[in-house]
Symmetry: C2
Subunit: 133 residues, 2 copies
DNA sequence: CTAACTGCTACTAAAATAGTATCAGTTAGG
DNA sequence: CCTAACTGATACTATTTTAGTAGCAGTTAG
């Protein structure tokens, strides 16, 4: 049961670090060494965070990344969305062949219910909450 | 977010079929065609179910597998245990390097909490419940 | 005796995750 | 106006996990 991949985990940690340094640009290199995340990997993650406007960037010397949203308004499930795809993806792939099989359908229903539960729980955890001392 | 692997999913479906045929031995071949599960794959899964005494087997012609427990007493999380390993495995792998980083620890704590929640939910779903018409 | 079974071991294939390399373009600061 | 320190973007490779296969030895009903 791996709820979060490393990418997601790193992304959250990056956002947490940026939250603690709201007012300046942190370079990929800097965050990488602060959090022990491989440099090239962090660059990839930062680009995704950038694309989804979680952060803004500044190019050139002394450039880097800065938070672009209120950490109260980013939840772990928002991050999951972009790094692991939609949290709710099991749409009864067995429908055609197997819905005559009642137990399969019930299982899918239960899984969906639990996935929703997980999603809600992650939605309640904001980056702000994680960085609160 | 994939809560169940195919192996687990199949295992549950196998147990459900066996529940519906409590009083006779079903061969791997039979279950395979009933549930559209690849034959060799199902054999693997059945062997694991056997090793953990979920089922008993009979060798030779007309042999096969039969449920060995009360389906009320098998939960989805029991099955997960054997096919996906312990549901609760994230033991703060970052402890050494990162627990000075408060946010990481809080995240781990939250993940653990959610994993526990998932485990409890799956524990409440028995095979009997899944096969109830 | 043999076809239909299971027991067991050891594979291969495919997909997802994790991590790397590299080049082009930007900019602060000497 | 050069250059070192940056980001933008693309395209890889490596590792791990999941999914599925092959095949032989031994058992048993008929």
């Amino acid at each position: 049961m791996k709820l979060l991949t490393k990418k997601t985990d790193y992304a959250i940690r990056i956002l947490a670090v940026l939250t603690k340094n709201k007012n300046r640009f942190l370079s990929a290199r800097e965050i990488s060494s602060l959090q022990n995340i491989p440099y090239q990997f962090i660059r990839q993650i930062l680009r995704i965070l950038l694309q989804h406007n979680f952060v803004v960037s500044k190019e050139g010397g002394k450039g880097g990344f800065k938070l672009n949203v209120d950490p109260k308004n980013i939840s772990v499930s928002d991050v999951i969305q972009y790094f692991q795809g939609n949290i709710m993806l099991s749409k009864c792939m067995f429908r055609k062949q197997l819905c005559h099989n009642r137990s399969t359908c019930i299982l899918k229903k239960e899984i969906n219910r639990i996935e929703e539960l997980v999603e809600k729980e992650f939605a309640r955890i904001s980056i702000a909450k994680l960085t609160k001392t």
